[in-house]
Symmetry: C2
Subunit: 352 residues, 2 copies
């Protein structure tokens, strides 16, 4: 008789959706989270509102957390990291460390939901001076200012008159080694641009981009309103350098549509940083012997027709640990991983 419980590693959107689903299907979910609380990156990074529906992120994640906390089929392990694994489908023995103490969790299958980390713009793109200029911030920093309802210049606490976003920081970049597109930054930047225009109506907002990847309904739900209703200025252009001049930042680069150099003053520059695999994703993948792609995201097998299976039978992955993913991708993939993980343990326990 195989163990029919499913171990879910990571308590962000993917992990919470997976644990709730497993429990709802009548199986036992064991949810392991390295932090002292659930909610994942939206909680840890203090997101203001979700993309594209602009729902309050704290409220949305709170509901997801409540659904697993008040659930007798979900066993929650906080402050817990995975340190090793033995066994195989139907009989994994997963070693964890909780509060400095080693324990073993028996489980039939595993869903890795260890997510991503935001690209550090100080790592390789010194040209933008993230660690040099107070008013050069990232999408994550901007999200915090928006959450606090106080979108001001970090340098002096004043309301900005001119704000710009620079897209593709840490993405689509061979020099950095991240050739992939991070998928969500165009949408999140546009969402933030709208929020800034609502919060600081006098402020002009610019977005410098290569391609605006507002796929599907993001086009009509965010991109068109951003331009038509909120008067966000989209400029196809490349920013090559940011310098400080008096009280202002000067963004230098090229407007590729107008085919001329640009040199524009800004009060705040927001770097649209992309996604990289989290440390947890790399560590956990190695522990389970799961193949990573060249960018260290977990490689799923089966091409377009299987978004969650890995090379290891009984080990699945969902959400941004497998590559750039929006929330819809993440939630859908979590559902698929629940289905496939339970099917895989049932194959052992239920006679064909």
């Amino acid at each position: 008789m195989a163990n029919e419980s499913i171990l879910v590693i990571g308590g962000g959107p993917a992990g919470l959706e997976a644990a709730r689903g497993i429990a709802g299907l009548g199986y036992k979910a064991i949810l392991v989270e390295k932090r002292g609380q659930l909610g994942g990156t939206p909680d840890a990074s203090g997101y203001a509102a979700l993309t594209p529906d602009m729902r309050d992120a704290g409220e949305a994640m709170g509901e997801m957390v409540a659904a697993v906390e008040n659930n007798s089929n979900v066993e929650i392990w906080l402050n817990t990291t995975v340190t090793g694994s033995e066994g195989s489908l139907g009989a994994f023995k997963v070693k964890v460390r909780k509060d400095g103490k080693d324990e073993v969790i028996d489980t039939g299958a595993v869903i890795i939901c260890t997510g991503f980390t935001h690209f550090d713009p100080g790592r390789e793109t010194q040209k933008y001076g993230y660690y040099e200029h107070d008013d050069v911030i990232t999408l994550v920093d901007a999200e915090k200012l928006l959450k606090d309802g106080n979108f001001v210049r970090p340098s002096n606490g004043e309301a900005p008159k001119r704000v710009c976003f620079i897209q593709c920081v840490g993405s689509r970049d061979r020099q950095i080694g991240n050739e992939y597109c991070s998928k969500v930054c165009c949408g999140i930047s546009s969402k933030q641009a709208i929020e800034i225009r609502e919060m600081v109506p006098d402020c002009k907002v610019f977005i410098f981009y290569i391609d605006m990847r507002m796929y599907g309904f993001w086009e009509n739900e965010i991109y068109w309103p951003a331009q038509e209703k909120f008067k966000v200025n989209y400029i196809k252009g490349i920013a090559t350098e940011i310098i400080k001049k008096g009280d202002s930042l000067i963004v230098k680069g090229e407007d590729t549509t107008m085919r001329r150099p640009m040199e524009v003053p800004m009060d705040i520059v927001i770097l649209a940083v992309g996604m990289e695999p989290s440390e947890g994703t790399k560590t956990v993948a190695d522990i389970f012997g799961v193949t990573k792609n060249k960018y260290n995201f977990i490689e799923t097998t089966g091409g377009a027709l299987n978004t969650v299976s890995t090379n290891v039978e009984g080990v699945f992955a969902a959400g941004a640990c497998t590559g750039p993913a929006d929330l819809e991708d993440t939630i859908s993939a979590a559902g698929s991983a629940v289905m496939k993980s339970i099917v895989s343990v049932r194959k052992i326990t239920v006679p064909a």
Copy 2:
């Protein structure tokens, strides 16, 4: 005691994935398909290869079909259309017509997987002369030529020397009423461009685009190789008219990066037609009282954190019937719909 079977409407990628999953979890799937065979649009439209992994579409769909055909938990109804519905979660009575005969299917919940239809470029975009010029074709027509391994000019059967794609035909277009982006056309065009370059090495291939929406790994898996290895020419530009001149087609428009008018001869012009809801999607939505959005796709509720629930309890939707979706979206959503539909019927049958 509620009925615990799940009715899946539509036998394409979403429906096949859903039916297999339901069965794998030990529940009964009832799969209804209006055509005489399973496989959905990839089969009906004769797709050559899947995007992005370029797997043979016939082989891939064949495997999905086999998984439900040889499954004692899946009941398949071909040549069957849904004509009415009564009841509610746990006790739907769904009327169907099979081979001219009316029947009633009892089911606990429903997953709508009725997909999309390709935009008809003759409907409103007369400027491209789809029904006038033999060598103006669509992505669907091109896919058939590629599948046959014989990519030639329809007008004379000769190998083309110059082929171009025009993006966003029927998408991002207020005049037509489709403001949304169809999400997959950039990827499929790039995939076909590569296939054309492989099949007809002497042929130059151009893609005229507004934004190349090669999100996530499509960027490094398709877009970069298309440019660097296969020398596909991407031109940010707008095609406004196609005229015939001698044996050639002349594409007129504006190169927006070079800021100059363009007038270029082509042997084949491929219109990258977008997605619209299928007739089945509209009909079935109305039968179940499911809300449609302004474009007549099925509206899912719950924003970014729920991709499959509708306004009707016990009725779910997965894949391109909910809006533009790539295969990964579709497969993931099908898994999520399986999970949520079974959870919903279990809530009635299993004491809390």
